[in-house]
């Protein structure tokens, strides 16, 4: 579910997603995996894969955040997401299709996903 920072009237709003990288160990990141400080190394992506993915997204016009754990953030106007992923970005969009990405990138990326809003914090202290 992409959420945007307020932009100008005609500007494409800026949204941000997380790019999850495939672990170097070959294991997949499952929804029931308990990823903790004890086993995080097993999920670490290869450094060169992270570097390649970051460089590619930067070249495509994204602001790329630091890699921590298994992921890094990418931020750009919606139009950039739509151009690179070749899919319309809607409010209900969560995971993005990877088909339009180069094969070299698809090999190292587990998924690219928007994050749903938090349930508590600023609106329920």
């Amino acid at each position: 579910m992409p959420r945007s920072s307020s932009g100008g009237k005609n500007a494409s709003p800026i949204v941000s997603a997380q790019v999850l990288l495939r672990p170097a160990s070959g294991r997949r990141i499952g929804g029931r995996d308990e990823i903790t400080s004890q086993n995080i190394r097993e999920y670490a992506p290869p450094a060169e894969a992270a570097a390649l993915a970051r460089k590619t997204f930067e070249a495509d016009g994204f602001d790329v955040g630091p890699t921590v754990g298994v992921s890094f953030s990418i931020a750009a106007p919606v139009s950039t997401f739509e151009r690179v992923f070749k899919t319309p970005i809607e409010r209900s969009t969560l995971e993005l299709p990877l088909d339009a990405l180069p094969e070299s990138l698809r090999r190292v990326i587990e998924t690219v996903t928007f994050e749903r809003p938090v349930d508590f914090g600023p609106t329920s202290y």
Binding site: S4, Q18, L20, G31, I35, S73, A75
Partner: protein, 538 residues
């Protein structure tokens, strides 16, 4: 019949106020004649989005006005379809508009709502204050009037919280005292040299922080965020005061997460913002937010956040998350996290579980109960409990104000203060205690910090925590550790003592230096500090 000579208007009372106080350079807005035929300076005109078109000016007329103003010696600073911003000395105005510029002192409201006098400029020839008439001058056919600029004061909130009669805690004193941090401060443990990153809605440099000399680094923007000087919600600003209350000498590293939603008050892509905090390599990261996840599996985005937390803790960063307010808080239930629950301290110092805060057993992580320890949190319906500073007129300042306690905080909607808490307050309080521990024993890792907090907490044995949909309908606190409140309310003094002992023992000091205490001595001192039964453990 002799023509009656036009009398020069008598100087008014305002004019007699004299010229002292007239600055060397005066700024004004000159208004070219409006196309609607009515001057914007006609007092009864209401200019709004619907009517403003009538007050625009013809471009050629505006250009002619600019030329004449320039010829008269004015600096042209800006030209819009409505006005021309000009500047020049008083004598230029007086010569061009055949008037006198006077200064007068008027009552006004300055920073912090302070009533005081300020110097205003005026032309005594018109009834409207600050207006210069162009009648009878070479500008008559191009300008409908000139408005002298007035002094403006930023509305800065007061560093003092508004007094309220209902029972509530004030920062820093009450929160520090209730967390037993004052005694740690007396021992010189104040969080000095420790960096605490807070991922939230941003941070506003409120006079409360400035005048107390608290240290905060410039706000780091998370992905897709903007405006590092603003906290549109007030949540990050307010809750950060809890950190300083417990650890006044920490350096705060605020990280702003993206705000969205119809009101712009919901945090999104918190993983990106969390990662930005990790990249700062602080000692502690505190997060007063989370997701309600009563059962697995986790989504890809949630696993990315879980992995980020795990990586942060693996690198030695202590990570604290709010347990939730009737939520099965995630990442609070992640086993690497110190989960912050809520205890309510009444005016008579009695403690009970906050019925606003969450306590639950995780269905995602094995053998994981939340919270680990508690901070100070109010009671339902709204946990209006700690008076906190925030940006005036932000979302919380406005939304918390209506009604009387316990439904409203009874503060103004624009005073930069609001009473609130929730486990959002507990996390930064616990982060403050963790910062004290890191100063007392810099080598402590995240696991040792959590262990010390748990071992030294004050037991909470009364009351019940909030219902957590999908898990339970309320759990009672009981003597000893329980799911409702974990180990209880953090005790900063005891925790720092235990940290110091830890640092003097065989496993404490970093760098292989000689331990000052034997393992036996350490155990004995630990028992004395924590109150553990010596006989039972011997």
């Amino acid at each position: 019949m002799a023509k009656k000579r036009a009398r020069k208007p008598r100087p008014t009372r305002r004019a007699r106020a004299g010229r002292p106080g007239v600055p060397p350079r005066i700024y004004a807005q000159a208004s070219p004649c409006s196309i609607g035929g009515v001057s914007m300076f006609e007092g009864r005109q209401r200019i709004n989005a619907r009517t403003v078109g009538r007050y625009l000016s013809d471009a050629d007329l505006t250009k002619a006005a600019v030329d004449r103003l320039r010829q008269a010696g004015f600096d042209i600073l800006q030209v819009t379809a409505l006005t021309i911003n000009i500047a020049g000395p008083a004598r230029t105005y007086e010569r061009a508009f055949k008037t006198t510029i006077v200064a007068e002192e008027r009552q006004t409201m300055k920073e912090g709502g302070r009533k005081d006098k300020a110097t205003f400029l005026d032309s005594p020839d018109t009834k409207i204050k600050g207006l210069i008439s162009t009648r009878g001058t070479v500008f008559e056919d191009v300008l409908e009037g000139v408005a002298l600029e007035e002094p403006r004061y930023l509305f800065a909130p007061s560093m003092f919280a508004p007094p309220k009669s209902y029972w509530h805690l004030r920062v820093p004193a009450d929160v520090s005292l209730a967390c037993n941090a004052d005694r740690a401060h007396r021992d010189g443990i104040t969080g000095r040299g420790v960096q605490v990153a807070m991922v939230d809605s941003g941070w506003y440099r409120h006079p409360f922080f400035v005048h107390r000399g608290y240290r905060a680094a410039p706000v780091v923007l998370g992905p897709a965020t903007s405006d590092p000087l603003k906290d549109e919600v007030g949540h990050g600003t307010g809750e950060s005061a809890n950190i300083f209350a417990v650890a006044p000498d920490v350096e705060l590293l605020p990280v702003k997460a993206l705000l969205a939603g119809s009101l712009g008050t919901v945090l999104v892509n918190t993983t990106g913002a969390f990662n930005a905090a990790v990249a700062l390599n602080p000692d502690i990261i505190t997060c007063s937010w989370g997701f309600h996840i009563p059962a697995g599996p986790l989504s890809a985005a949630e696993q990315a956040l879980a992995a980020a937390v795990a990586a942060a803790v693996a690198s030695g960063i202590t990570v604290i998350f709010s347990a939730g307010n009737g939520h099965a808080g995630f990442p609070a239930q992640h086993p690497d996290v110190i989960a912050a629950g809520g205890a309510f301290m009444d005016q008579d110092e009695t403690l009970q579980a906050s019925d606003y805060s969450s306590g639950f057993s995780s269905n995602i992580y094995s053998n994981r109960a939340v919270p680990d320890v508690c901070g100070l949190v109010g009671m339902r319906p709204k946990a209006i409990y700690i008076m906190l500073p925030l940006e005036p007129e932000d979302a919380i300042d406005v939304s918390n104000a209506p009604g009387t306690h316990p439904d409203g905080d009874e503060t103004a909607t624009d005073d930069g203060w609001a009473a609130f808490s929730g486990t959002s307050a507990a996390a930064p309080q616990i982060a403050g205690v963790a910062a004290l521990l890191k100063q007392a024993c810099p080598g402590l890792g995240p696991t040792a910090v959590k262990d010390i907090l748990i071992r030294t907490a004050r037991d909470v044995s009364a009351g019940s925590c909030n219902t957590v949909p999908g898990i339970h309908t309320g759990l009672a606190a009981a003597a000893g550790p329980d799911v409702a409140t974990g180990a209880g309310l953090v005790d900063a003094h005891k925790a720092t003592l235990l940290a110091k002992v830890h640092c003097l023992g065989p496993s404490g000091p970093p760098g292989g230096t000689q331990a000052a205490l034997s393992a036996t001595d350490v155990r004995t001192l630990e028992r004395l500090i924590t109150g553990a039964d010596l006989d039972a453990e011997s």
